[in-house]
């Protein structure tokens, strides 16, 4: 009955935690609403990718996570 949302990199700082449980099912609007305006703005940004169970979504607005799924919010990776 829960979806685990994982915050990576500096998103974990913004979120104040590494992960959070949200009720299933969870779509993109539901996720943005649950994150609050600041995190939602970052999550919506072009450079933040979203993965479900380790697979990056081509279109994150198509998010459809169910019970037991893990949703990751991935900011851009750091350079060398």
């Amino acid at each position: 009955m829960a979806v685990t949302v994982v915050f990576l990199g500096k998103l974990a700082d913004f979120a104040g935690e590494g992960e959070r449980e949200l009720p299933a099912p969870l779509d993109w609007q539901g996720l943005l609403g649950a994150l609050g305006p600041d995190l939602a703005a970052t999550a919506s940004g072009e450079r933040t990718k979203v993965a479900v169970n380790g697979a990056v979504l081509a279109d994150k607005s198509a998010l459809a996570a169910g019970d037991g799924d893990e949703v990751a919010l991935l900011p851009p990776v750091s350079g060398g």
């Binding site: 500096k10 169970n53 380790g54 893990e70 990751a72 991935l74 990776v77 750091s78 350079g79 060398g80």
Partner: protein, 149 residues
């Protein structure tokens, strides 16, 4: 063609991997190895590399597979640190062996360019007691453009 990818949470000695890797491929023409270390410039006290276990390892394995298909290799080894590192500690090791030197050198170059910008790692640096995140660099994109990606 053998691919080995390891993520390590503790310091490693490159020699402990390169020797056995080379010995495991008799008949090779050459082995090229790159070791990246944490630079201590500008008062960096420590570097932390965060990863997403579920994606970081499969991501590097996919990159290694790509390199194996693109270059004529006998073996490819990628070792990457995670966690908190001090200046001077090895952070990444890529070693490729092949019949001919061109494949080995190009594979290492290719893997390093892609590891730096395509891998699921997030870095932060400790300077003066303060952690700060490292942002992507434009240079990494020009590095990738060399490979026509």
């Amino acid at each position: 063609m053998a691919i080995t990818v390891k993520l390590l949470e503790t310091p490693f000695n490159p020699g402990q991997f390169v020797g056995p890797f080379t010995n495991a491929h008799p008949g090779l023409g050459g082995v090229c190895t790159f070791v990246g270390e944490v630079r201590g410039e500008e008062d960096v006290e420590a570097l932390e590399l965060l990863h997403y276990e579920r994606m970081t390892l499969p991501g590097i394995e996919a990159l290694a597979q790509q390199a194996a298909e693109r270059f004529d290799l006998m073996g490819l080894l990628v070792v990457h640190r995670t966690g908190v590192m001090r200046p001077g500690e090895p952070i990444v090791l890529v070693s490729a062996c092949a019949k001919h030197r061109r494949g080995a050198i190009d594979a290492v170059d290719f893997c390093m360019d892609h590891l730096k910008s395509d891998s699921w790692f997030w870095k932060r640096e400790l300077r003066g007691g303060q952690w700060s995140w490292i942002e992507p660099r434009a240079e990494d994109h020009s590095d990738l453009a060399r490979w026509g990606d």
